[in-house]
């Protein structure tokens, strides 16, 4: 057909031309680990940018975890703070001065030597430029070098959790002096970590091993973080051998993958917690009895089972079981009868309508919300689920335009992180409007108490009151779920979900 041939030819021609262009990405082993010894990890999102002091996206930190270091790091097993770029530290008598001794023989990826000037530069950058994590340095008055291998941090008040503040994740990474002027940190990196950044584009981010890493060169030649949003595709890629690691495992697949020989699945409890919060500005949710009624009406087991297929531990407090600071306190046994009584007592006429804000940013919460709705329906509360995209959700939370919302706090390591900002009067994250002077006092004490046992006492008391008052309605701690190729060794799944490949060996 004469008329169509030119059209078809043109189409093919353009096709070929367009395909040749673009793509600076080095697709090492396009079919999955081909000649080179590269680990291909399937992650569900693309990093937004690579400046560790600016980005807050988990996707970025999956990469940055392997590129940068902090002074201290959480231990993979029990999450206690361990030496990293700092080998030892000591606190002054009054607790206001911390001296960190820095490690010898550490070099950045460009070969330059690491010393105290880099630490001073990095921390002051965060503080002076009001970058994303500057709130962690709230109590820091100054950061100074004392010789090339010592850094002195002076505080305005004793801060027992300082180590956690400066080391819980790579948002406080140590950059080389003047890094922001020398590099475009959003797309380039120069760190002390086990891998160096090779490239990052719309398909994947590629890292190559850094031979001179202070803790020994990694066993693999490199890591490719490939973005695969669709779980079915990610899991298929893993089973095919196209990728050797993924965290894109939806809860309902846990059972079937557990029995699948082509995949090694592991779970571990995480440090995250999920909760429901009610708006104190909207009666009758300012009534303690109403909130307690709701707490009595819920079956946390069923919620965890439905939304997470059992990969979550119901918990009526925030801190998970494995932590030293865990408090075993569950006053709310499921009791619809008592719930109804409490509602009556509070003078509430049923059916009571309650809007519940959830975001599809976390799809399991949408499922959980539907279970909650059916449970609350039994006691006369009519839940209207409002599924919003995250940006709108945050807006409304900030503006107080909601009856109740459902979200979580992720990556918490220290009890202050679990409780302080959210339950202190006028705390920065106290959106619900809770205010209890007793709790305030306890939280203040806990923030400055240096003895761990005493701290636990204090936080136990605070937690008890917070739970009884239902400032937050705690639901559960979900598990971390990851899967990788059988025979992959040297990788440890961590409760704080940090992804570290420095010791990985491919099968």
């Amino acid at each position: 057909m004469r008329a169509t041939r030119p059209l078809a030819l043109a189409a093919v021609g353009t096709l070929a031309l367009s395909a040749c262009g673009g793509g600076e990405s080095v697709d090492t082993g396009g079919g999955g680990g081909g000649g080179e010894d590269t680990l291909v990890a399937a992650v569900s999102a693309q990093p937004d940018q690579l400046d560790p002091h600016v980005t807050t996206a988990y996707a970025s930190f999956q990469v940055l975890e392997n590129v940068y270091d902090t002074l201290v790091v959480p231990d993979p097993e029990d999450l206690t703070m361990q030496p990293s770029l700092a080998t030892e530290w000591e606190t002054s008598e009054d607790g206001l001065e911390w001296r960190f001794t820095l490690r010898d023989g550490v070099t950045f990826h460009d070969g330059s030597e690491f010393d105290s000037a880099d630490v001073v530069y990095s921390y002051n950058r965060i503080i002076d430029e009001e970058l994303s994590n500057s709130f962690r340095f709230q109590n820091v008055e100054s950061v100074e070098a004392d010789g090339a291998d010592t850094v002195v941090i002076t505080l305005s008040q004793p801060t027992p959790n300082l180590l956690e503040r400066i080391g819980s994740f790579k948002g406080m990474a140590i950059l080389p002096e003047n890094a922001a002027e020398d590099l475009d940190l959003t797309t380039e990196a120069n760190g002390t970590g086990p891998f160096q950044l090779e490239s990052s584009d719309a398909s994947s981010t590629v890292l190559t091993a850094y031979e001179d890493y202070w803790d020994g060169a990694p066993s693999v030649d490199g890591v490719e973080f490939r973005y695969i949003t669709e779980p079915a595709a990610a899991l298929t890629a893993l089973q095919n051998g196209e990728v050797q690691w993924t965290d894109n495992v939806p809860p309902q697949r846990i059972e079937s993958l557990g029995g699948d020989d082509s995949v090694q699945l592991e779970t571990t409890p995480s440090v995250d917690y999920w909760y429901m919060s009610m708006n104190y500005d909207r009666p009758p949710f300012d009534n303690r009895d109403v909130r307690r009624a709701i707490s009595f009406a819920l079956d946390r087991e069923e919620i965890a089972e439905a939304a997470w297929f059992g990969a979550a531990e119901p918990n009526q407090t925030a801190i998970p079981e494995d932590s030293f600071f865990h408090l075993d306190y569950s006053p709310f046994e499921r009791d619809p009868e008592q719930a109804r009584q409490l509602l009556q007592q509070a003078g509430v006429t049923t059916p009571l309508t309650m809007g519940l804000m959830v975001t599809d940013e976390y799809p399991e919460t949408v499922t959980a919300a539907q279970v909650i709705a059916s449970q609350l329906d039994e006691v006369g509360i009519d839940v209207q689920i409002e599924q919003l995209d995250f940006a709108t959700w945050l807006d409304r939370q900030g503006a107080g335009e909601y009856d109740a919302f459902y979200l979580g706090w992720l990556g918490n390591l220290d009890p202050a992180a679990y409780y302080q900002e959210q339950h202190q009067t006028d705390g920065p994250n106290n959106y619900q409007g809770y205010s209890n002077p007793q709790v305030d006092e306890l939280l203040q004490q806990g923030a400055t108490e240096t003895d761990d046992d005493a701290r636990k006492e204090i936080y136990d008391q605070a937690a008890t009151i917070i739970v009884d008052d239902v400032s937050y309605l705690y639901l559960y701690n979900p598990d971390v779920v990851q899967a990788w190729a059988p025979g992959l060794s040297g990788y440890q799944i961590r409760a704080d979900k940090a992804i570290n490949f420095e010791n990985v060996e491919l099968p």
Partner: protein, 318 residues
């Protein structure tokens, strides 16, 4: 049927000759019998379209009587019963929260169809009005209106819908609004093209010369005769509206849980396709079937309402 019935022609116009309709002639011939009856007759002769219409009527009936037909409520959560494959107790199986899928599919028909009809209703009314005015009055009215339509049209449909939903908030009503707005330009264009054709027809010009008012002309002559392509477009747009609702729900923007819209069920079932295929399969089939029927109906209507083909068929049928 979804289109408005076409009113029978009124006063004879000079120069048209015998209006008994015994012989195929120029396309402006007015049939002797009321048009809609002839339409139905011709349609009935097209088996696929006939079947499609019957199925659609069935679906609409199902929507009306949904509560009685559905064996269970849509939100009866029962976690122990979840993810059961189809059985006598649950002919379509249960979903991840133990809800009966058959009931949800039946009840979902109402949600999906309501969104579809509302969306197309919005697009139809506004788009046709714009197209009518643009086509009939021409010149600057046409220019301005069509430019605005072009601006809307140049927007990628999905993004426009997403943006509108982001502004207004999710939910069935807003989804219908978003889809409706996206479809306005198409209706405007189709109407305008059709009106342009009819505007120059002899009977229109003649009526105008006799002094009939614009309004009367538009409503009694132009619109009814320009109607056929609009009717066809309606049917086709209904098909796409149902698909669009599914896609938007898939992206998390459409109907809110736990309302059982088909699109939402498909989105929820997407994560279970390899372990529980029935979650996505049945709503998917429902969407497919409904959309198919709307398209087949549209095709049938097009075959019947296109004057050229109509006279061919009418002529050959005797």
């Amino acid at each position: 049927m979804t289109g408005a019935p076409v009113p029978p022609p009124d006063a004879p116009v000079a120069g048209q000759g015998d209006a008994k309709g015994t012989s195929p002639g120029p396309t402006t011939l007015r049939p002797a019998r009321p048009r809609w009856r002839e339409t139905l007759g011709l349609l009935a002769r097209n088996p696929t379209a006939a079947v499609a219409s019957l199925v659609l009527i069935g679906i609409v009936l199902m929507t009306i009587f949904d509560e009685t037909l559905a064996p269970q409520g849509p939100s009866e959560v029962s976690v122990e019963d979840r993810l059961q494959s189809p059985s006598w107790a649950h002919p379509f199986g249960t979903d991840d929260l133990g809800r009966d899928i058959l009931s949800r599919v039946i009840l979902g028909a109402g949600v999906s169809l309501r969104v579809g009809f509302l969306a197309v209703g919005i697009a139809l009314v506004i788009g046709t009005l714009i197209g009518l005015l643009a086509g009939y009055y021409g010149r600057w009215v046409d220019d301005v209106l069509m430019r605005v339509m072009d601006m809307l049209f140049a927007f990628p449909a999905v993004l426009l819908a997403i943006a509108i939903l982001a502004v207004r908030g999710a939910g069935s009503g807003n989804t219908a609004l978003a889809i409706g707005i996206v479809y306005i330009p198409i209706f405007a264009r189709v109407t305008r093209a059709s009106v342009l054709g009819v505007r120059e027809e002899v009977y229109v010009r003649a009526s105008r010369s006799v002094g009939a008012s614009d309004f009367r002309l538009l409503t009694r002559h132009v619109l009814p005769n320009a109607a056929p392509p609009i009717i066809v477009q309606t049917s086709i747009s209904l098909a796409f509206a149902v698909l669009a609702e599914a896609a938007l729900s898939f992206l998390g923007l459409g109907t809110q849980p736990p309302n059982p819209s088909w699109g939402l069920m498909l989105a929820e079932g997407r994560g279970f396709i390899d372990i529980a295929w029935w979650l996505a399969f049945f709503p998917g089939m429902a969407i497919f079937l409904t959309v198919l029927c709307f398209n087949l109906l549209g095709d049938g209507l097009r075959d019947v309402l296109d004057p050229r083909q109509r006279t061919l068929m009418a002529g050959s049928g005797r």
